[in-house]
Amino acid sequence: MSRRRKRSSRDGAIAAAFKTCAKERRSAFVPFLVAGDPSLEATPDLLRALVSGGADVIELGVAFSDPIADGPTIQRASHRALAAGSSLSAVLGIVERHREELGVPIVLFTYYNPVHARGVENFAAQAADSGVDGVLCVDLPPDEGLRELQPALEERGVDSIYLIAATSTRERIDRAAAASNGFVYYTARSDVTGEREDLIPTLAREVKRVRRRVRLPVAVGFGISTPEQVEEVAQVAHGVVVGSSLVRLVEENSAEADLAARLERRVRDLTAPLGARVL
């Protein structure tokens, strides 16, 4: 595999963020929001709120018309964002204008079709120019991604992040790990995204199984929504991703003047237990 990079992502901002957390002996907090929900104008303020609440890396969701891996909460958010005029172009614009000011690495969390429609070369160039640090396409496993998207991203020093699931065989884990830069994303449930009351009982064992085979930091997401769950996952993972619960907060408070402040408070609550990692 080509290791040619203009900007070495091994030492890119994502890797650096996880390194900082490791030094501080804590897990990274990785919040997710859908860009453009409730509006494109509101998004920068919400991203600032994530950062001041304690985000280490931001997963910025690109709304798609057919989000097959998402539960109702993120489906509704995607729908609102599209109705508000969000698109991959708009998201790249937001990153371009605010990445530096935010000072936190941004991973685009997207379905593959919007990227494909733009053309992978175009997309990679624009993502790099806008300051996007990494890209995760939910429906682009390494089987296809290694050939189709990764070379273009690598060329420009943008990290590729792949998912690992409970169903991933050893070969698949190794492939995702070898292909990813920055971190790998372990999906805590075999399910669509969405808040859940409990974590699955075998989660700690599963994450350890993955960590044994992966040299990169392992972030865990899907179904994590309360500070207690964050604390539990932080025991075993290098990063904790929270999505639907924040997206729901935005949904329920979108008419409030202090939406951003409410989001920031929520992120503070969620990051409070993060010191507890004992890796």
Binding site: I68, A69, P114, D139, P141, D143, E144, A165, T169, R172
Partner: protein, 439 residues
């Protein structure tokens, strides 16, 4: 004639990753990758197994009603004046459409794999009914996802599925049609694959679906070929026509004639209300390369890669993407694609009803519409083979609605040439006139 589904036959197969050239593939969330790999392995093992083939063929013959007749449509032929028209009567199958060939094959496969629950999506309801039927037959639980708009326009099929013991889950997302039902079925499957098989109803989706669904339907083409040899004196028609939603009935028919330069294969898409994006489901004229529901293929989408709404009077063709193998074969010059508007399809529906006493499914009526354009220009010794993929009972209400919205009386001549019958049809006169007519 014995039923022999050519499951193990050497077909034009995609590569290991399910690719037909640059089309197809397996673009799925990681959680589904291992279950899809398991499905590919199970299917490849079973389709070569004699006991499985025997079981399937036995059911196809005694339960489903194969082989279906090949019928020389003398009335339609005389009416159009030109090529001899043969109908492959998939409409006579149990449950009323070709869909049962695949549904039964996959549910048998699921049972062999030890699954206890079946899920499916449905547009027109025919695939849902077929799957619910197979699940009832083999004693498996069944949930069918269906868009609310489709539940409205195909409500008889909703009740049929319920009578068969299936749960029909309403999908109120997006356009509330087939694509949204597929989204929801995938969402279910991500969480349920351990005990559940997803019976995808057409030649789309991630590997192995396109090749598996095609193979279960290839019996249509192989039968038609043998029947044509007997009936028309030649196994190969000059033209073979089929409607194309995802493309399963077309692949089933065409698979027997691929690589034969003398047979012109024509796929007919839904031209809907007209050529504007959003008004039709004609992927070959309005689509661009994209990735939807697991495959790289032609997709109706905007420049930002958002999938756009589609429209067709027939729920089964109302889908923004098409099976990847069709796109590959189109590139190769092996299949030609055209479309028929809502109005042309409605006219085709009336025409076949009046000239042959056969109510075609509105999907199949698109193929009939193409025949009415093509046959008159052909010689009387030439042969057109049409896949009559389903029967029109489910569509009577839709046709009634459509006709009521317009309402002029148009005479269609009987084949005998004498008196004419009056059929109600919409005002905008002819085919192709397209946009706005149906409104």
């Amino acid at each position: 004639m014995k039923v022999r589904t050519p499951l193990a036959a050497a077909a034009l197969e995609p590569d290991e990753g399910g690719r037909y050239g640059v089309y197809g593939g397996r673009y799925a969330p990681e959680t589904l990758m291992a279950p899809l790999e398991e499905l590919s392995r199970a299917y490849d093992k079973l389709r070569r197994k004699r006991t499985f083939q025997r079981r399937l063929n036995h059911l196809l013959e005694h339960y489903v009603g194969r082989p279906t007749p090949l019928y020389f449509a003398e009335g339609l032929t005389e009416h159009l004046g030109g090529a001899r028209i043969y109908l492959k009567r998939e409409d006579l199958l149990h449950t009323g459409a070709h869909k049962i060939n695949n549904a039964l094959g996959q549910v048998l496969l699921a049972k062999e794999m030890g699954k206890t629950r079946i899920i499916a999506e449905t547009g027109a309801g025919q695939h849902g009914v077929a799957t619910a039927t197979a699940a009832a037959l083999l004693g498996l639980d069944c949930v069918v996802y269906m868009g609310e708009e489709d539940m409205r326009r195909q409500r008889l099929n909703v009740y049929r599925m319920q009578l068969l013991g299936a749960e029909v889950a309403a999908v109120d997302a997006g356009s509330r049609t087939l694509k949204d039902a597929i989204n929801e079925a995938f969402r279910d499957w991500v969480a349920s694959f351990a005990d559940t098989h997803y019976v995808l109803g057409t030649v789309t989706g991630p590997e192995p679906y396109p090749r598996m669904v095609r193979q279960f339907h290839s019996v249509i083409g192989s039968e038609a070929r043998r029947q044509l040899r007997r009936l028309a004196g030649t196994p190969d028609p000059d033209v073979a026509v089929a409607c194309v939603g995802g493309g399963s009935n077309a692949m089933g028919l065409f698979s027997a004639f691929l690589g034969q330069p003398d047979v012109l294969l024509v796929g007919v898409e839904a031209g809907g209300r007209g050529p504007e994006l959003g008004d039709h489901a004609a992927r070959f004229s309005g689509g661009t390369l994209g990735v939807l529901h697991g495959a790289r293929t032609l997709v109706l989408q905007d420049e930002e890669g958002q999938v756009v709404g589609t429209h067709s009077v027939s729920a089964g063709l109302d889908y923004p993407a098409v099976g990847p193998e069709h796109v590959f074969l189109h590139d190769q010059g092996q299949i030609e694609f055209t479309s028929a508007t809502d109005q042309e399809a409605i006219e085709g529906f009336h025409l076949l009803s009046a000239t042959e006493g056969i109510l075609p499914a509105l999907e199949s009526a698109h193929a009939i519409a193409e025949v009415t354009r093509r046959a008159p220009g052909m010689d009387g010794d030439q042969v057109i083979l049409v896949n009559l993929s389903g029967r029109g009972d489910k569509d009577v209400e839709s046709v009634l609605e459509y006709d009521a919205a317009s309402g002029d009386q148009v005479p269609v001549r009987r084949p005998s040439g004498g008196d004419s019958v009056s059929v109600r049809r919409p005002s905008g006169r002819h085919s192709g006139s397209g946009a706005g007519d149906a409104e």
